[in-house]
């Protein structure tokens, strides 16, 4: 069976996120996980740059379509949810996993 792919092509997501002001994340969520906002954006960019289709979990229809990933950073599992607009990536969620999550390819990512 062909594994599910992200709705938003990763290449477009990465290219857009690398642009100045091309990545947005919510202030309260950034403050919860990082000492300051600049570090939060840098960590988010670095995380997005490292994403592969192996990390993809599912595409969700919220208000807009968004792709969910489970990614391991420094031996810890992180939950990532993002959507792509024409000129920016909105990082809706970026926090430590609260429970194990299985990727579309069947790999379990642990908190």
């Amino acid at each position: 069976m062909v594994p599910k792919k992200p709705f938003f092509p990763l290449l477009d997501v990465k290219r857009t996120a690398q642009r100045k002001d091309g990545l947005l994340l919510s202030r309260t969520k950034a403050e919860a996980s990082f000492p300051n906002l600049t570090e939060a954006l840098a960590a988010a960019r670095s995380m997005i740059e490292s994403l592969t289709e192996k990390d993809f979990v599912e595409t969700k229809q919220q208000w807009d379509l968004c792709d969910v990933y489970a990614v391991v950073i420094a031996k810890q599992g992180w939950y990532v949810k993002l959507t792509l607009l024409p000129d920016r990536v909105i990082l809706i969620s970026f926090h430590l996993l609260e429970r194990p999550l299985r990727t579309a390819r069947g790999h379990e990512v642990k908190p």
Partner: protein, 168 residues
């Protein structure tokens, strides 16, 4: 009218948090932000993309840089103030900066440098240590004794903790 047609400028977008409101740059007073260990006021003139429905603030590079700069400046100012008033209180009790530096293991002159120049931010650990010493200067003697007990050929960290609880 659809959400898309409501979006008047390229800076606006539908909020990804609530899905209802439009996110637009807003500058308003009364906002606060967490910065390190403090909650600090956000400059009223700083425009932050904010959802008109749920109030979620969306941060990009430009906003992050401006906000972090403003918050760091305020944080540094507050930590320096705390250090300054703590040292003034200790000075009233004839406890010199040099003796505080010695007991806290700081370089000689470090505290003077910290309070007279603006190029260093006192850490929360140092600022809170100084505040606790200023509140109860007897703690300086306690710390001196603590270092003595940890010295020598057979230090006993667990025993030191027990001694500290009785000394407190």
């Amino acid at each position: 009218m659809s959400v898309r047609t409501k979006l008047a400028s390229k800076k606006e977008f539908r909020c990804a948090e609530c899905g209802k409101g439009i996110v637009r740059p807003i500058a308003v007073g009364g906002r606060q932000a967490n910065y390190r260990t403090l909650t600090l006021p956000v400059p009223a003139a700083l425009e932050i993309p904010t959802c008109g429905n749920c109030g979620t603030e969306w941060i990009n590079d430009s906003v992050a840089r401006k906000l972090d700069t403003a918050l760091e400046k305020e944080f540094r100012s507050r930590m320096r103030e705390l250090v300054t008033v703590s040292l003034a209180r200790l000075s009233e009790l004839s406890i010199s900066k040099a003796s505080v530096e010695r007991v806290l293991g700081l370089s000689q002159g470090y505290l003077s440098h910290l309070t007279t120049t603006g190029d260093k931010t006192p850490s929360e650990a140092l600022a809170s240590d100084l505040a606790l010493l200023a509140q109860d200067p007897q703690r300086i003697r306690t710390i001196e004794t603590l270092w003595k007990k940890l010295s020598g050929s057979k230090p006993d960290p667990a025993g030191v903790l027990g001694w500290l609880s009785t000394a407190a």
